[in-house]
């Protein structure tokens, strides 16, 4: 009986598009562990695992909340502000493609899930090295619904920004501005690390940072290249721009580093890769390759400035999610309003090509999304903070989150570790590491 609808569905499915979306989905999922590696390298060695684990936890938590209600609230009809519960618990999400697409609805869901996951993981960068792991899990669950799903509805679903024609190819609104401005709110509510502004708190492994950034860039080809949900012209444009933009950001970043400190830094280069990828995220399928390269160079300037300025303030937004994602996403969203080109994208022109209205649509998103993300995250964490302590004690902070929250260390030597045998219990431990 169920054979017939599936046959009809299969007829409308494009095998090439579907094959690419399988790959793109897997590429985007890989970005979250890559982000974990990037973040883990930026913190002190005693917090390596906890920082990585926050990203892994985002995969666990946000996948489940997204399947339960998040996807429905984002992509079901509902109203302009939020979707309905029509697709809650994946109701009606089957093989038949969505309107205007030629890939299975179920695959579209999986692709969108990986976006919710990495965005939730991104926010953790604001609170690493001090937030308790349990409250973070609760925060991640609530944030993925209250902030991410709503912003995704505005930008991708039939939400008010989408309906009025605001362009956001791969998530400048929900992913980049959503995470960046939420990170600022989270840092303000959770508070600074106890030694922030007093001791030098340095990245413990710049190689992790570079490898993480490289893997993120790799995954970003799926992120941007897959956001057309097909293998058409806009997807090709976004895919190629994902190569061009970060390269230009890197070059400008090198120059800024050289002017400011006379040396080109590795951690700076890793940051520049992220900034470039973020900037092209909203604009990928809408601007010409030439303007994508301009965007890459341009985006480096405000992000670099915010990064340098933030470090001088009392705001311990630890891994600069605001600068790298919020500001770069903001730049990309506005850039569309200026340099979008109908002859390249087939959708709309920016003000430079004669349509001033597009810039207004983009500007609305650039104001509304940050305000919503900041406000809701601030209130959410304040409310959570009224029920439980969000952060570890000063003593636990000095011990390190790895030992306190996970009972593990990233760099174990095994020296002095005594095996606890199940039958012997703690009474008669057997030494396993003989000195010398």
């Amino acid at each position: 009986m169920s054979g017939l609808p599936n046959v009809l569905a299969a007829a409308r499915i494009d095998t090439g598009d579907t094959a690419w979306m399988f790959v793109a989905t897997a590429l985007v999922l890989m970005m979250t562990p890559a982000l974990g590696l990037f973040y883990a390298g930026l913190v002190r060695s005693k917090n390596t695992l906890n920082t990585f684990m926050m990203c892994i936890a985002a995969i666990a938590v946000a996948t489940v909340t997204w399947a339960a209600v998040g996807y429905s609230l984002a992509f079901d009809e509902g109203n302009g502000f939020i979707g309905g519960f029509g697709h809650a618990f994946l109701d009606g999400v089957t093989f038949a493609p969505r309107e205007g697409q030629a890939i299975p609805h179920l695959l579209f869901f999986a692709f969108q899930t990986t976006f919710c996951v990495i965005t939730t993981a991104l926010v953790s960068g604001a609170v690493v090295e001090r937030m308790r792991f349990g409250p973070f899990l609760v925060f991640a669950a609530l944030w993925s619904i209250l902030v991410y799903a709503v912003l995704a509805h505005w930008a991708f679903g039939p939400g008010w920004l989408f309906n009025r024609g605001t362009l956001d190819f791969a998530g400048g609104i929900p992913v980049e501005m959503g995470s960046g401005f939420s990170a600022l709110a989270a840092a303000l509510v959770v508070g600074a690390r106890k030694d922030y502004g007093r001791l030098a708190l340095l990245p413990h492994n710049a190689v992790y940072v570079l490898v993480g950034a490289g893997l993120l860039w790799f995954g970003w080809f799926g992120f941007n290249g897959g956001s057309g949900f097909n293998t058409g012209q806009n997807s090709t444009l976004a895919f190629v721009n994902t190569l061009l933009t970060p390269a230009c950001t890197l070059l400008v970043w090198f120059a800024l580093d050289a002017i400011r400190g006379r040396r080109v830094t590795a951690v700076g280069a890793a940051t520049a890769i992220i900034v470039g990828c973020v900037a092209i995220t909203p604009a990928g399928g809408f601007v010409s390759p030439g303007f994508a390269m301009l965007l890459g160079g341009l985006a480096a300037l405000p992000c670099y400035a915010v990064l340098v300025w933030r470090a001088r303030t009392r705001v311990d937004e630890t891994l600069d999610v605001l600068a790298a994602h919020g500001v770069a996403g903001f730049t990309g969203i506005l850039f569309i309003g200026v340099f979008a080109q109908l002859s390249w994208n087939g959708v709309a022109d920016g003000i430079a090509f004669g349509d001033a209205g597009q810039l207004l649509d983009q500007g609305l998103a650039a104001v509304a999304a940050p305000a919503y993300a900041f406000g809701v995250t601030y209130v959410l964490l304040r409310v959570m903070g009224a029920f439980t302590s969000l952060r570890s004690s000063a003593q636990e902070e000095s011990q390190g989150m790895d030992v306190v929250h996970h009972g593990e260390e990233a760099y174990v030597t095994g020296e002095g570790a005594i095996l606890v045998l199940p039958d012997a219990g703690h009474e008669a431990p057997k030494p396993v590491a003989e000195p010398g």
Binding site: Q395, G407, E408, T413, E415, A417, I418, V420, H426
Partner: protein, 117 residues
């Protein structure tokens, strides 16, 4: 002349350095060491393997000082390293026979006195 050895928590090492600096003690060497005092063992689990970790990371300060500086040095290390919890560390003071500054060949008191610049 004494050699003062202070074994402190790694997270307090910066506070100790700062306290020594304020006490105008200038010559310091530090080493990362592992040791066991009276503190409780931590239990860690890696997949099925549970271990009791008996050695803790510590930082060992070595400061060679003239007699006048012994008490200020001890006070500085104590102030910088104390948290009040078990595991704050120890300070050992031992006699020192000779000290030589390699650059000038100065010995003893002159060798452990900071150079005025």
């Amino acid at each position: 002349m004494k050699l003062i050895v202070g074994i402190v928590r790694p997270e307090k090492a910066n506070d100790v350095l700062e306290a020594l600096y304020r006490a105008e003690v200038r010559g310091v060497s530090i080493t990362r060491v592992q040791g066991h005092g009276g503190e409780l063992d931590r239990v860690e689990t890696y997949r099925g393997t549970t271990v009791q970790v008996g050695l803790s990371e510590k930082v060992r300060f070595e400061v060679a000082v003239s007699d006048d500086f012994v008490d200020p040095t001890i006070a500085a290390i104590s102030a910088g390293a104390r948290t009040g919890e078990v595991g704050d560390g120890k300070i050992f003071v031992m006699p020192m026979e000779r000290a030589v500054r390699i650059r000038t060949g100065e010995t003893d008191h002159a060798a452990v006195t900071p150079v005025d610049r």
